[in-house]
Symmetry: C2
Subunit: 415 residues, 2 copies
């Protein structure tokens, strides 16, 4: 038992994390690493160097997803994989993603130090562009691996200046057909991602680890309500087709549907409400809303969307306004794999760590990997729930505990 | 009877209206005459010249309100007044305001041509800045005459570049203490304003004239709702303090209160709804609304505001959000003078014109003159209800009919 704890080189890992954090477009300790930017490319080289030092076989796909393989005793078997991302939004910290990449590598090195020889190969995966900064879409690499984002859709992506993914990846040196990024079912036997919680609960409740049972995912819509404008004085109430009062009904209908789903995990939000013409003395003629509905259960999420659609029909008929709904996206919620969760639980107990099962409410690369392989996530605490900020922090103890649990889990799964 | 009809020089009046329209900051036929701008000053000179030609005594007050007096046989009596404005918003037409000024002048000239000598003096008033273009506040001159806008408030007015009313009026040559603009009660015996309807009803219903019984006026508020933001995924429904769902309740509460006031003349509008931070995946932390409530009855309008305040208290308590309400303005609704209305009615009948009584739903200089003198308005049709556009149009027949009714009314009131 204590062999695992002492085999983890937490000092070495922290040194590597701090070194990676210094590869940034910003002034350290601020981390900014936008995908395919100069800092992202240097960070990739740094990580690939560490992988090579550890004796792993490094390959890259056409969009820059990176795979570092430790061949098992039976290399014909599908590998166990772990990993996360190293890109960072502007003005970020050093733990989001990187703990899963360098921590995953340290878990593999720990097994090597202990002299273990896994039956299945173990792979570290560094996903391209988990953050949406450059192209406006999150989890680019894992979406493409799962073919949730098709090569055609990927080729259509543009940054704010109009440069495309094709241009950026060519500049970064990633070649080959984008269609080759999607992986076949069975490519990975199982996948487990170590990540900071990005929420306050583990720390505040005194847990060392969170075993993620479900990853919630959003369905987003744009709703455009077309009514009839007019002067706020001249247009009498009976003849009005006020787009904003219609919108108010939809905002409340979404709230009611989310609240009455029967599950605490259902959330519904209208985050944007743009009113035209937007003058004190004008009856609103058009309103644009966005809706964001999340759940860990896709069917239950769809029922909320159905309730909203029914409300929209009723409001449209009653108020004489036109309501058009466009689906922006509907990403898959993930239910984590029971076998991985069992292995994580045994490992946490063996490591003497206090853990709880929990839901991940923001999405991760695991959301998309779960479409192609049994997947689970392991959360460690982060101070105050702060993330995506330079003062993001996870203690060496939390990180070391996570790496130990992950190493034990990889060993079990690769048997 | 026909004496009045033939004494109105509609051709002369139309020539003057077209000549005035050519004094513009824009390319004719587009009319733009922002108060104290070069075109406004030339237009003032043009109108004052016509008044002098008609033998009227012209004076101006400290803010440029202009008075052209025809002394009656008993000059100790308070005069009957008529008038409107000649300033025009950018990209306007040639009838709004100008029909009331040059039509009022023509009504006075008609009485002179008929050899009538009024007992009371008759005055034409040209109000400064009915339009809010320069200083963001409508009816500047008439508000100041009624002391609804105090000299202190007037001195604080600024244009978009930061130049003040004091600077503008000095440049335009208007001197003297702004406190001298307010007039004493009794300064006018009665006031009647001729104006295009700026709505479609007289034309579509086949009326020659509208006798305005009430002028509605708005009370406007800014409502700021402060809730608690958060990630649309991480913030569960039970703990939310969503500022936008709270706002939706207020939007619907205002609509319900306006609809259930018991009178068709009550209208309530939320025209602006700004949401912060305004992202698809963020729970709104703050919402700013504006409300515009209008009525012809001030007490009934106040009851709608009370109902909205009660709704705000309830929503604030139930949802745990802070709601702050600030009154932007509360202008006085006007009830028109029955004696003027009777004179207008007799005059319309005598002129053989088809008329109806109606409510003015946008405010006019008359709204403020009504605070200091018995007041009424006379509407004539305008094509398609179009106003504040270059294609604004009132036919010579409509205008001539209005002038004839106004002339007869002034004669009656000045007896």
């Amino acid at each position: 038992m204590t062999a695992f704890a002492s085999a983890v080189s937490i000092d070495g890992l922290m040194t590597e994390l701090l070194a990676l954090a210094k590869i940034t477009e910003a002034e350290p300790p601020v981390v900014t690493r936008v995908v395919f930017g100069e800092a992202d490319l240097r960070a990739r080289a740094f990580v690939k160097g560490l992988c090579a030092d550890a004796g792993l076989e490094v390959t890259e796909d056409a969009v820059g997803n990176t795979f570092a393989r430790w061949p098992g005793s039976d290399p014909t078997l599908a590998p166990i994989a772990t990993g996360s991302h190293i890109d960072a939004i502007p003005n970020a910290g050093l733990y989001d993603g990187c703990v899963g990449v360098l921590g995953g590598l340290e878990a593999m090195r720990t097994l090597k130090r202990l002299g273990l020889v896994p039956r299945r190969s173990i792979e570290l995966v560094v996903f391209t562009a988990e953050e949406p900064t450059r192209f406006g879409i999150g989890c680019l690499g894992s979406r493409m691996m799962a073919n949730v984002l098709t090569p055609e859709q990927a080729r259509a992506l543009r940054d704010k200046e109009g440069s495309g993914l094709e241009e950026w990846r060519a500049r970064a040196g990633f070649k080959g057909d984008l269609a080759s990024v999607a992986v076949a079912a069975g490519r990975f036997h199982r996948f487990v991602e170590l990540h900071i919680e990005q929420g306050p609960y583990l720390e505040s409740e005194g847990y060392d680890a969170g075993l993620v049972t479900h990853i919630a995912a959003p369905a987003s819509q744009r709703i455009v309500i077309e009514g009839e404008g007019g002067h706020a004085g001249g247009k009498l109430m009976p003849g009005r087709k006020d787009a904003l009062t219609a919108a108010a009904e939809l905002i409340l209908a979404l709230e009611a549907a989310a609240k009455s789903s029967g599950a605490i995990d259902t959330v519904g939000t209208v985050g944007i409400c743009n009113v035209f013409p937007g003058a004190v003395n004008s009856v609103p003629s058009r309103v644009e809303l966005t809706t964001d509905v999340r759940d860990i259960d896709g069917a239950r999420r769809d029922r909320v969307l159905d309730a909203l659609a029914a409300a929209a029909s009723a409001v449209s008929a009653r108020r004489g306004v036109a309501i058009a709904t466009e689906l922006i996206n509907a990403d898959p919620p993930a239910t984590c794999d029971t076998e991985i969760l069992a292995a994580l639980e045994e490992s946490a107990i063996a490591a003497g760590k206090k853990y709880k099962r929990m839901v991940a409410r923001a999405y991760h690369d695991s959301s998309f990997v779960s479409c192609i392989a049994p997947t689970a996530m392991l959360f460690i605490p982060c101070r105050g729930g702060v993330s995506h900020r330079p003062d993001e922090y996870a203690s060496p103890e939390w990180i070391g505990g996570g790496v130990q649990i992950l190493a034990r889990t990889l060993a079990k799964l690769a048997q």
